[in-house]
Amino acid sequence: MTTADTTTPAIEIQGVGMVFNGGRPNEVTALTDIDLTVQAGEFISLIGPSGCGKSTLMRIVGDLETPTSGAVRVNGKDPRQARLDHDYGMAFQQAGLFDWRTVSANIELPLELMKWNKARRQTRSSELLDLVHLADFGAMRPWELSGGMQQRVAIARALAASPGLLLMDEPFGALDEMTRERMQGELVRICAETGATVIFVTHSIPEAVYLSDRVVVMSARPGQITDVIPVALGERNEDTREDPTFFASITTVREALRGAPAPAVTGSNSVDIS
Amino acid sequence: MSTVEAPQTQAPKPKTPSTNPGRGRSLIPPLIVGVVAVVAWEVLVRVFNIQKFLIPRPSSIIAALSTSWADILEGTKRTGYVAVSGLIVGVIIAVALALLCTRFHFMADALTPMAAALAATPIVALAPIYFKWFGATDATAKQCVVVSVVIFPVFINTARGLLEVQNVQIELMHTYGVGDWAILREVRLPNALPFFFTSLKVASSLAVIAAIVAEYFGGQQGTLGSIITQSAGLSRYDRAWAAVLMAALLGIVLYAIVVVLERTFIPWERADARR
């Protein structure tokens, strides 16, 4: 549908601030002075302590919240317009599938809302089921699947309308570590196949490092960006997880999160675990 | 037949906050709506000159209530006596049955489907038979109707509360090496209390309904039910509505008493209910 054109950035965030309950005693400043530009095809993770506003920032991009100051452009458009144009798909911490629909029907729901006809929807949903390796599960009910499988369905659903942009709010947060790593691998593969731009909110440093081109580190009260750490790991595969550069990047992100100035990545703080 | 489930209450889960309508919220909107509704009722009936045998004005209902106050109050006492005494007896029987079910699990298996099926029946239709057994003028027949109606929801919910305890808690008690009695006292009874009170709320409303419906089938005069039917038959609708109003009050008062009891006995449920 909307393939992000390479000249406009996928997302431009300028001077965004967010104040909840403004003017009332329970006023909370969730975000201040956020500037971030995401290029098409980039994978960006938002990481930070609870309450740093990383989810809020993503919800602003997704037009689920309206910022109290600043400007956001998604594919060069107003976020609301981008939402109405189905420019992005969103996945949440819970799969949030509808119990009363089959797996296929869940994936087809966004397409139904876009008034696609049935034949087209079915073709698309079987493509997506192949993509997330659930080809045999289309007729099942979401609650018959494991947590990891449900999350894959949710990702397929987010990808249904072939959006150029994926917004993912801790999608693997509720999964066990093994499933989580497998899902990360799948996500990397899917992103490579679809060329999607991704904004990924997470609590996990290794996850952020493994997935991202750039890790955006945020701090709480008030929520702001303290660091943007590029990760140069090249093509990801299972060996990446044991690569010294991977550990070095993890250390860099961890220190950035602790508020220490990010040291230059050197081989010295890599750990040899073999 | 076999798919008949237990009697349903509005509150499917014992901890539902619905039992405290408006708590923590402003009482003003419902009051405004109430006042507007009563005023609109009064005005509409006057303006459109609706005959009073159709819908009497609120003011004439109040007037009828004050002129027939002695009769209606006496009727409320009689109906209230039947409802409350039947409720108490029914609850005692139901709780006793539920306790037996924790002792003898086969009883739970046997009684639950029965209770569920019976709860689906219009039990008040038993009233004519009870009138034949105990005599129509005595209150006993009507008390029996109330008892029959009250038993099922209280039994089903209480038994559920006694039996559906967390396995962890039972296992914990086993590690202490204590017997069934201690498990009943420390685990099952506290677990059952919220279920019990939920069912008691349903039962208190049902008791008033059962008493009045039993009165519609005949029996003693001068009860709320007979005042309503007689007044309606004589086209004294203002008086009938006045008696209905008292029946409503009776229902609300009984319910309120149960709510007070609930807060006294299970204070730990309050925080949850306040949500």
């Binding site: 119990d99 009363w100 | 709506v33 609300i252």
Partner: protein, 317 residues
Amino acid sequence: MATTAPTFLQKPVDPARSNSGRSGPSALSRFARRTVFIIGGIVAVALIYTAVKAMGHATGGTWPFTSMPLPFSTDDVTMPPVMDIVLRFGQPQRTGDPKNLTMWILEAMLFTFREAFVGFIIGIIIGMAIALIMLRTRWLERGVMPWVIVSQTVPLIALAPVVVAFGNQIKVPLFSWQQWMSVALIATYLTFFPVAVNGLRGLKSPTPLALDFMRTNAASGNATLWKLRMPAAVPFLIPALKLAATASVVGAIVGEISAGVRGGLGRLLIDYSAQYLSDPSRLYCVVIGAALLGVLFVALINVTDLLLMRNRPREAR
């Protein structure tokens, strides 16, 4: 989920199986078990009834080993023998009547069911409409909902005689108001209240996450209603409908008695009650018919429930 029916026969869910739906054989065996227990229960009631009669007969109407009289008489008029009641179903309603009693009772059941069902359906429609309006209008919800909830504690059925009398006076253009419609009106308002309460609760039950999802997909209000809120409301509505089904039957019977409507169970109850001394078994037969109608009506809701919820996880049922 909040609406799980209180069936404690379902022992605490085995975590290993909690993800599997309703498995065929266990559902079937539960069905068989329940049927056996219900039949066993009916037999047990009949046996106890017969035993009480035998005891009264043996002691001459007192508690055993005392001189305290039983609170009721156990003679064959007050308590006709079980076999008399069973056989009575196959006999004519009165001597010379070509139709047997079973036919009379079945017709009365059908008649009462029609009143109750028509009122029930209209009650659902109005109740859902009100729930939808309250969903859209917050001030109305805050103003009206407390009253609807209070109505649940009030013996609304007390209004039945008044409603019936009121119905008798209605002159609707283009259509003649019939008395059974007044009776249906009782079933309507008895259904309306629980449906409005639980309907609203169900419509508001979708999680913020599900609502966010619909929003990110630019779903219209209508789409959100039909594809999310309505399906989510079903498990909340079913308990209300079961409650309303039983209440509708009671309401219809009471309405028939108050209005003197002919043809339904209420009328048979009154008639057979009046002629009790000459033919006691008949009253028992019609009471059994009334019980059966209630059970069948609720069973109808259960079948609807199974159909609507067949694809949902067991925990949500």
